[in-house]
């Protein structure tokens, strides 16, 4: 495409009110805005890649707004208004808040130009009455989320509703496609392509490593040829100004709190106009927020924002942010995406950045103008994180990107979609198969898998076909599948979506007062306000009297009341329960390789803080530093145990799987491993016997991914949670039914039973397969483990030592209660049963 020519024409074609509006603001339309406009006018679906702050959203809406302007305000009573009219433009975002934010931002040009356009948002938070109305009389532009699309498509008026659609705008597409929500959306888009074949799709994305994945996702695929949308690459931003905090403090060996650097983070906030402090987990956010206020002698306006805070509280912070009232916000990834938070001039990223692209997106939150460099400071929480931060800094400066490979569509999501289509109108199995395969994530779906998915939706699968409850679609006289019962439709709509919330408990702040019963020491508690929600898993670990951090305060846990956790305010400064859980994202393959390079190359240590360089120096002297392509394995005794520590740098999940498999093999070799602990960077196994004599090549052989893995999975309960998610998405288990608010705990119990029973009686059930494939890429990270074993084959560097090495210290410090392989449990049982005998024999009295 000749961009310049197209831009020229486009500018000429941009309607006068628009040119005038740009003028009135002292702006000129940006080249990528005009290029996108030209593509859309030519009827081409297009992907626009531009960094944050490039006027991307406005670019996406320009074609739709000009088209609506040309249409003019419809006459009252015409077919284009009121009941029976369809949508003109669909805007889909991954975040509810983003949809709301975009609607607000778009309000300005629309009202200033006086455009004849109606727009509304529709999310899970939209009141039912309005949602009902929107279904019958939609606005011109609907701003919504993937779940709502699925819901709207399940109604029988979908052909009218979507039939007149002209534009579909997919915002933050890079984020949408990377999950099961992306799978669900792709299936919805495949249906919309049938209903409105001419609608133009516009994808908006941050900079990604592989734009072609998104270009394919955006348009319907055909069996004959790969289809791709057009592509417009916006101008790159100025190279960001990224540095790693050169801490004056002692950098910890392990841990993730970054506590040593709180003072320095405070100084950064003080020196900035508005700083965003990104952390990886909710509990980390709580802790830093608390500590910053403890040293906040200047009373700087520092706020807290994360996903489990009460909605009103988040809205307050967001509003203050937009007004520019805040100096600092401590936040989790809820603020990662493109919401415009006004004048942020500094991003502080605490902890490991995990991936180069992820870091760049965070950095992009600062300085929303393209011509200014974004400023960011990385704060590593421990010594290994220093290496990771330095690697990420290099990547950010050089504009290098990483990212996950494109997804293969989830089977559970497909099952949900199939039912949704039956709810809308009876379908022909072959026609729907073709339609599904036009969605890029399902392009390679086989007819055999398709038949099994259909069978699952129709019967629940062999093991469950005895029950009517699982018979959700049936064939009608015409041979088309329809929903078996109106109740099925109702259940589908209640259970739609792919985000399975962790079971959450409401945290309620109560007050103590002497009980009416008058019993001493048993004060009754009386109601107070809700502070937000925490994971049930976390609450289940607490006992009455434990203190923990939440919502920026130290709270004392009092007890449970159904789905509420009752707490009182505590005057402790130090919460007893440190609530750190590692982040969800593993270190990216790309950064891992860079970290290994740094380790192997002492020349590069100049850029490291002196204490970290010194640490590596001692390692070199005491043990070995592995070459970039080597896997270092150290063995050494310590107190009454023997250790084997290796350093693959492949992320905690892959290490954990490796640990499970290695201990199993070591046990078979007679080495009696007792346990292991996995960190992002290393794996440590300990046992009663010296492991330096084992055949390491055999131990680390790739064949562990065969029988050993199968045997492990057969015994392990690890996959139960993954199964629960799949079963809920596929509709085997309900999230909630009217009048029957199941608590998360109940759901877990029943899905565990189902899992066990299916595993015993129908091990090839399609949901078990879905569970397995989810776990292989997620929880167990088998794909990455496989790559690791391939990579290190013939490159094992074994170093027997007399004592622990400097590199091993962090992972040994991490040793906590980790599950061990079953045989060790048996050994412990045996040992315990023998203790009595030994005690008897050695007793002195």
């Amino acid at each position: 495409m000749n961009v310049t020519g197209a831009v020229q024409t486009a500018e000429n074609n941009l309607p006068a009110p628009f040119l005038a509006w740009f003028d009135s603001r002292g702006w000129a339309p940006r080249p990528h805005q005009l290029a996108l406009y030209a593509q859309a006018c030519a009827g081409n679906s297009t992907l626009l890649i531009a960094p944050t702050g490039g006027g991307k959203t406005l670019a996406g809406f320009l074609p739709c707004l000009t088209d609506l302007t040309a249409r003019g305000r419809p006459k009252p009573g015409s077919s284009e208004t009121g009941v029976g009219k369809g949508l003109h433009t669909l805007y889909i975002s991954p975040l509810k808040a983003l949809a709301v934010d975009i609607a607000r931002n778009l309000e300005t040009p629309v009202s200033e130009m006086g455009l004849p356009v109606t727009m509304e948002t529709r999310t899970g938070d939209t009141p039912p009455a309005r949602r009902q109305r929107q279904r019958h009389s939609p606005p011109d532009i609907l701003m919504t989320t993937p779940e709502q699309i699925a819901l709207l498509l399940s109604h029988n008026n979908a052909p009218i509703y979507f039939g007149g659609l002209k534009y579909i705008i997919l915002d933050e597409l890079h984020s949408l496609v990377a999950s099961k929500r992306g799978d669900l959306l792709s299936l919805g888009l495949a249906r919309i392509a049938k209903l409105a074949p001419d609608a133009i799709r516009i994808g908006l994305s941050a900079t990604v490593a592989e734009p072609d994945h998104l270009r394919r996702y955006l348009v319907p695929q055909t069996i004959e040829r790969e289809q791709m949308s057009s592509l417009i690459q916006g101008q790159g931003a100025v190279t960001p100004d990224v540095s790693v905090l050169a801490s004056e403090e002692h950098i910890p060996w392990s841990g993730h709190s970054a506590r040593h650097a709180y003072g320095e983070i405070y100084n950064i906030i003080q020196a900035s106009k508005t700083a965003l402090v990104f952390v990886n987990t909710r509990s980390q956010a709580e802790m830093i927020f608390q500590e910053l206020w403890r040293i906040n002698e200047d009373g700087l306006a520092i706020a807290l924002h994360h996903g489990s805070l009460a909605k009103e509280q988040r809205r307050k912070v967001e509003a203050a942010m937009t007004r520019g009232d805040l100096r600092g916000v401590v936040c989790t990834s809820t603020l990662d995406l493109g919401i415009d938070w006004g004048d942020v001039d500094m991003v502080v990223s605490v902890g490991a950045p995990k991936g180069a692209s992820r870091l760049l997106q965070r950095i992009g939150r600062a300085n929303h103008r393209l011509d200014e460099a974004s400023r960011a400071i990385l704060v590593p929480a421990n010594r290994f994180e220093v290496l990771e931060c330095v690697a990420a800094q290099d990547a950010a400066i050089n504009g290098e990107l990483d990212g996950p490979p494109p997804r293969t569509g989830g089977i559970d999501v497909l099952a949900q979609h199939v039912l949704g289509m039956a709810c809308s109108e009876p379908f022909d199995a072959d026609a729907l198969f073709e339609e599904v395969r036009s969605a890029a994530p399902y392009q390679d779906l086989t007819r055999e898998t398709w038949a099994r998915v259909l069978d699952f939706v129709a019967t629940g699968g062999y093991a469950l076909r005895r029950y009517d409850q699982y018979r959700r679609i049936v064939k009608n006289e015409a041979g088309l599948y329809r929903a078996a019962h109106p109740k099925v439709v109702q259940r589908y709509r209640l259970n739609i979506g792919t985000i399975i919330e962790e079971a959450l408990m409401r945290v309620k702040l109560v007050k103590k007062r002497p009980g009416k019963s008058g019993k001493p020491g048993e004060p009754s508690l009386r109601g107070g306000r809700f502070l937000g929600e925490v994971e049930e898993f976390f609450v289940s670990q607490l006992k009455a009297g434990d203190t923990f951090l939440f919502s920026g305060q130290v709270l004392r846990f009092e007890g449970l009341s159904e789905t509420e956790a009752w707490v009182t305010r505590s005057f402790d400064d130090d919460p007893q329960i440190p609530s750190f859980y590692g982040g969800k994202f593993p270190l990216s393959t790309y950064l891992a390789a860079k970290v290994r390079d740094i380790l192997a190359d002492p020349e590069s240590w100049q850029s490291l803080p002196p204490q970290v360089a010194e640490w590596l120096g001692i390692q070199k002297w005491r043990s070995v530093l592995p070459k970039a392509d080597e896997l270092l394995i150290e063995t050494f005794p310590r107190s009454d145990k023997h250790y084997l520590v290796c350093y693959p740098f492949e992320g905690r999940l892959a290490h954990q799987s490796l640990g499970m498999l290695l201990t199993r093999r070591l046990d078979r070799m007679g080495a009696h491993p007792l346990g292991f602990v996995a960190s992002e960077y290393a794996l440590a196994i300990w046992g009663l016997n010296d492991m330096s004599g084992v055949d390491l090549d055999a131990l680390f052989d790739e064949d562990m991914l065969g029988d050993d893995m199968e045997a492990w999975l057969a015994e392990s309960s690890l996959l139960k949670r993954t199964f629960r998610d799949c079963a809920m998405i596929a509709g085997l288990i309900d999230r909630r039914l009217p009048g029957d608010e199941k608590s998360g705990r109940q759901i877990t119990v029943s899905s565990d039973l189902l899992y066990t029973v299916l595993k015993d009686h129908q091990p090839d059930h399609i949901l078990l397969e879905a569970t397995w494939s989810d776990a292989a890429t997620g929880l167990l990270d088998i794909a990455r483990l496989g790559d690791l074993l391939k990579r290190v084959k013939g490159h094992l560097a074994h170093k027997p030592l007399e004592r622990v090495s400097p590199l091993a210290v962090p992972v040994l410090l991490d040793i906590a209660k980790e599950p061990v392989y079953g045989a060790a449990n048996e050994a412990l049982l045996r040992e315990a049963s023998q203790d009595e005998l030994i005690e008897e024999a050695t007793r002195l009295v």
Binding site: L464, L674, L753, Q762, R830
Partner: protein, 231 residues
């Protein structure tokens, strides 16, 4: 250690990994709390489980009967999860139970889940009784603390803590005078023997015979730990 045994009221008993107790001198096998048709009982609560728990329990029962070739099998009550259980059995399971009751002297002891009123149990063969005395032993469902009892009902389980790790399994529990068997059924859980309920049965100290993967581990009471208590 497959022939590991101890004595209850002077009579030798061999605890089996399956959870059954074998009394070689009485040629009697005892099993407790089979809870047949527990799976289908969930339907009433809206949970549709594959109805295979009965099959699984029967399969294990067949194996252990094959192993010991008992003359008599005593099911110590709660053999059915509820009074309607026998009516919900599918044909294959009925046949499998009838095979067992035909080939041995089969005793159904009544339990609280399947009291004397349980319908259809007579059609399965065997004899249904409140309790049964054999020599110095009384086989009943709910232990009454009288000594000389072989009972079920409590679903005993035990936990130990060794090298900082907690391990919890089903177990047999005995003070030498009485014995409580673990629940045999497929979908059954267990109650920690540190629970006060066990103090009502055993005055003094007792031992837990913990079911491991390939062995039974005998553990003194002092070695056992209670469950972590919730808030």
């Amino acid at each position: 250690m497959s022939d590991y045994s101890f004595h209850v009221a002077g009579i030798r008993v061999q605890p089996d990994l399956s959870g059954a107790a074998w009394f070689p001198d009485l040629k009697t096998l005892a099993v407790a709390d089979l809870h047949f048709e527990k799976g289908t009982s969930f339907v009433r609560r809206g949970l549709h489980l594959p109805p295979y728990d009965t099959k699984a329990t029967l399969g294990r029962l067949g194996d252990v009967a094959e192993k010991f070739q008992p003359e008599r099998i005593i099911a110590l009550g709660d053999s059915f999860h509820d009074g309607q259980g026998p009516a919900r059995l599918d044909g294959d399971d009925v046949a499998a139970i009838q095979r067992l009751t035909r080939n041995t002297q089969w005793i159904w002891i009544f339990g609280n889940h399947d009291p004397a009123a349980t319908r259809g149990i007579d059609d399965l063969g065997g004899v249904a009784l409140e309790e049964l005395c054999l020599g110095d032993l009384t086989f009943r469902h709910e232990p009454q603390g009288t000594g000389g009892e072989v009972a079920g009902h409590l679903h005993p389980g035990a936990a130990i803590r060794q090298r900082g790790r907690r391990i919890r399994r089903k177990c047999f529990v005995s003070d030498g005078a009485s014995l409580i068997l673990p629940a045999f059924g497929a979908y059954t859980g267990s109650l920690n023997v540190c629970d006060p309920a066990f103090r009502e049965v055993f005055d003094g100290s007792f031992r837990a015979h913990i079911i491991g993967r390939e062995e039974i581990y005998s553990m003194a009471q002092a070695k056992l730990v209670p469950d972590r208590t919730g808030p």
